[in-house]
Symmetry: C2
Subunit: 163 residues, 2 copies
DNA sequence: CTCGATGCAAAATTTTTGCAGTCCC
DNA sequence: GGGACTGCAAAAATTTTGCATCGAG
């Protein structure tokens, strides 16, 4: 393992525990199970996905607890919310992300690609300066068709996005 | 009225009727009431807002018909969907918009500002070229706080955004 | 021990859908 | 007149919440 890869699950769980304690929140088995489930997931996941995986770790985890844990996880910065305009939201572990991420949503294979969009930091600053406001968050998404992408093999139809 | 202001409600209603006919859809009183309600609205509105206003024109309009009309209106290009990540969607009449619009969402006064972001056309093309896919739509949003904006008078707290 | 956290189920909220009746073309 | 369209209410689907109980500190 690379020495710079300090963001493995183990270390991150410690970071999460520290975050909970620092906020006066309790370190419960359910929260840790949810955290582990989230951080083990390599891709985007929904609240329901997370519930299912967390229950494999601790079957006492309830849906309500997952929904109550998600805001804590996103506030900690360990998990990122990815809202692509569906009726449910996606989430994703924040591993070694340093630059702003945009999403490319493929309508054909129903996949979400994360891509670097560092210029968005400049854009946010520009908008903020022009209107004299304080940027809280930004979102940049491109919805597209990938028929050509499919032939190149990058986008395999039937990607494992959930229902 | 400016001679270039060809997009007044009257003309636009004709455009809508033509669109319906061209698609083999029927021109009903309810659809026209919904169209008028939408086009008279100066700001962003929700499906529920639209229902309420459409009923002032034709009180036989039902919620279901509003929800069934919205996809038709957006497909016609006369109305634009503005999803800022809440549990309900906003819509807005497309008046004299020619360039790509980004949104600035103010967390303090709960208002949505539409701003020109012409460079997004370049961005979409860049992404498309790099990944060889066909851009369907794009979304760019900045969520911000406007405490300073308030003092400048641009953002009055208590703007009339719905609950 | 104490009070924050949890599970369960009911509620809330927005949008969709089935069906019988209506009215545009 | 025929079939698209509509209204109504029930259904869907995701997220939130009240309450009794549990357990972390």
């Amino acid at each position: 393992m690379d020495a710079t890869d300090t963001k493995n699950s183990k270390n991150m769980q410690e970071t999460f525990k520290d975050f909970l304690s620092s906020k006066g929140l309790r370190v419960t088995n359910q929260r840790l199970a949810i955290f582990d489930a989230a951080f083990d997931h390599p891709d985007h996941f929904t609240a329901e996905d997370l519930l299912e995986r967390a229950r494999e770790i601790d079957d006492s985890v309830s849906r309500a607890t997952v929904y109550r844990a998600l805001p804590i996880l996103t506030e900690s910065g360990l998990i990122r919310e990815v809202d692509v305009g569906r009726d449910y939201k996606f989430y994703m572990a924040n591993r070694n992300v340093t630059t702003f991420q945009a999403q490319v949503i493929c309508l054909d294979c129903d996949k979400i690609f994360e891509i670097d969009a560092p210029f968005m930091e400049w854009y946010g600053k520009t908008v903020a300066d022009k209107l004299s406001l304080k940027v809280e968050s930004q979102r940049l998404q491109v919805t597209a068709h990938c028929s050509e992408l499919q032939s190149s093999g990058l986008c395999k139809r039937g990607g494992k996005r959930n229902s």
